[in-house]
């Protein structure tokens, strides 16, 4: 992933893992909750993005747990992913600050 902006799904997956490790289904549910049901990842897209984040070292498999006799991976944010997410949050916050400043300038000019 480049230093420009992260793709939305990747950013949302990292955000979902920012405060706690989660398994695949819980990550999907968390993404739905974060976006107020605007983004509902499908299984293929979810696992495609998780595989990519794993390959890039932004997330890691924290453990495998067995539920109902079936194993599932629990994913967690890797140190590189935390660093990347913080940088992304700072970039988004800077953009938001600039948007507010310009909107305020525009409102003052029209008043």
């Amino acid at each position: 992933m480049s230093e420009r902006g992260m793709q939305e799904l990747a950013l949302l997956l990292l955000t979902a893992l920012a405060n706690a490790p989660r398994h695949g289904y819980a990550i999907a549910q968390e993404v739905k909750a974060i976006t107020d049901n605007r983004v509902v990842p499908r299984t293929g897209a979810l696992y495609g993005a998780l595989d990519r984040l794993l390959a890039e070292g932004l997330i890691q498999v924290e453990r495998e747990e067995v539920v109902g006799g079936r194993a599932r991976r629990v994913f967690a944010l890797a140190p590189a992913g935390r660093e990347r997410l913080e940088a992304e949050a700072e970039r988004l916050a800077a953009t938001a600050r600039e948007v507010r400043r310009r909107l305020a300038d525009g409102a003052a000019a029209t008043a």
């Binding site: 480049s2 420009r4 793709q7 695949g24 289904y25 999907a28 499908r42 299984t43 293929g44 897209a45 979810l46 696992y47 495609g48 993005a49 595989d51 990519r52 794993l54 390959a55 079936r70 194993a71 599932r72 991976r73």
Partner: protein, 190 residues
């Protein structure tokens, strides 16, 4: 159905994650309507095929194709655009009314030109910001002509390429079009 879809993953991937994917897919599609479930199945199918073909975004080949896709699309559009331009010039420049030429047009040739036009329109849509719909349109133009041996539709990765690459691809495609002069076919001696 889920078991069948997961069987499309390569054996090693299926052995490692197949059951996990089946369980998650089942939970995620439990409350969906039938059309929504079919779309979810299609998404899983696409992921399985991408992993099987080594074109998933996690693989080096998948990343390469994601970067190369806009350029391949631009090249296809230039190729098709030149073909349409030559065809149009061949229709307009020879003496005689255009309507008379149109009457003797071959149906297959018309279809071929229509598909070429579809590729051009799709490339413009994709390279100007709407990647997925644009690629869909372009692939509709490319897919029915496998004999062409040009860019395989599979090379247009479903991973959206970095937006910064799309103008570059468009510009290089445009430069390619400028470098190749288009001429009307020479009139036949007869």
């Amino acid at each position: 159905m889920n078991e069948f879809l997961v069987r499309l993953y390569p054996a090693a991937y299926r052995a490692a994650h197949g059951q996990e994917i089946i369980d998650v897919h089942r939970e995620m599609t439990a409350d969906l309507s039938r059309p929504a479930r079919l779309r979810a199945d299609a998404d899983l199918l696409a992921h399985a095929l991408r992993v099987r073909s080594g074109l998933d975004p996690a693989s080096p080949a998948g990343r390469f194709f994601a970067l190369a896709a806009p350029f391949a699309l631009a090249a296809s559009a230039v190729e098709c655009g030149l073909r349409v331009t030559r065809w149009y010039a061949g229709l307009v420049f020879p003496p005689g009314p255009v309507r008379a030429h149109l009457l003797f047009l071959d149906g297959a040739e018309c279809l071929f030109m229509l598909l070429s036009l579809l590729v051009c329109v799709g490339a413009v849509i994709a390279l100007t910001g709407r990647w997925r719909p644009g690629v869909g349109v372009a692939v509709c133009g490319l897919a029915p002509r496998p004999w062409e041996g040009s860019k395989p539709p599979g090379c247009f990765s479903t991973r959206v390429p970095p937006s910064a690459w799309r103008p570059a691809a468009g510009i290089s495609g445009g430069a390619g079009a400028v470098r190749v002069p288009t001429r009307a076919p020479a009139p036949s001696p007869a």
